[in-house]
Assembly symmetry: none
Homo-oligomer: 121 residues x 4
């Protein structure tokens, strides 16, 4: 999470960063000063989504578009499934050990912060 | 369900398989080792959906696309309606006796496992 | 689960039996013929509760009474917390590996079936 | 939060610690290693409750008992209201600036960790 925060500061985008364990349960969450309220839930739910589906929220988002194979997936799990960039599974020895979720900026900025957190992991 | 599990093992895809009764209520569920967490709810809800709408989730999905007749159906029932393949009603003597729902692989794999379960029924 | 089913048959009480993993996620569920519909959710949620709180639902129930230390706990987790007997954590080497939840009979009968499943584990 | 974690380590109780802002929105959350799953939501919701009601969850709990003035309050807000100890409002210059919520041990332990976090604030 520190690596993610550093990256967020570097690009000047206050973010929410969340980490979940292998059971998709919250381990830690931080909201940086100035981040919008709507991003709290997105960060936590992006981490949840990436863990539950073992892929980035961005990849899931491609399959979740109208006419794509998983269209409608975003309606499931009481609306906790996020299908835009910012969630990345934390893979260790071919297993999903958890996931990180980032929200606060554009999806490109969120992805960049999530990748920094992932790289540190 | 045993037939579904056999098919899932045959194609090497750990799945969740769920069966509901004529009232769309869960009768049994099994998660095979190694299946992703997000598929638990999908299997159960695919079975629910197929029973409630008396058609495969795949067929409902065609009608649930933007501009199609039932667009928005996936928002109903607290998000329990699934509109991609893997749910099949169990029809007996022209009546829906229940349904099976499968989730774990691609939608093609899920359909294949559901069809194996259906065939055994 | 087979041990639980045997016990349930022995005492003539059709039950729902559910098992969750260490993350409180459903691994398997079975509803025996003749069990009431309300017990499906209870069995699954008793297993969830016992895993999440690392104790039997009966023990949690003692603390969840009016004026007891955890009064109000049953309102949390979107109402998934069950505070009457039938849920038991599956402890292995001092860690909670999951839990079993049983519902269908009186709380004494549910406890008895859960204990049989626990003993087999 | 660091002060809370120190206190939790001192008494040997792995806790969840959450902080919300004056709008009752999550600012940060940490789950210490070994804490039970059920405590994630409790910590966050205790902080929410203390901020929303401008008092400790323990004080609210006294009013939330059967026959007390606010009996039923724990049913409100989609079950997010917690009425046992562990949530304390963070008061600054007579205004509620936010709240801290702690869950993981007995209510006495949770209160102790929350008070340590409050004192540091």
């Amino acid at each position: 999470m520190a690596a993610g925060e550093s990256r967020a500061e570097e690009i000047g985008v206050p973010c929410n960063i969340a980490v979940v364990d292998a059971g998709a349960h919250l381990v830690a969450h931080i909201r940086m000063d100035g981040s919008q309220l709507g991003s709290i839930t997105h960060a936590i739910d992006k981490a949840f989504t990436s863990c539950a589906y073992r892929r980035s929220t961005e990849a899931l988002g491609r399959d979740g578009q109208p006419a794509a194979p998983l269209y409608g997936v975003a309606n499931s799990h009481q609306g906790r499934v996020v299908i835009f960039a910012g969630g990345i599974p934390l893979v260790h020895a071919s297993r999903v050990a958890g996931a990180v979720g980032v929200s606060g900026g554009t999806i490109g900025e969120d992805r960049s912060v999530a990748e920094a957190a992932f790289a540190a992991f």
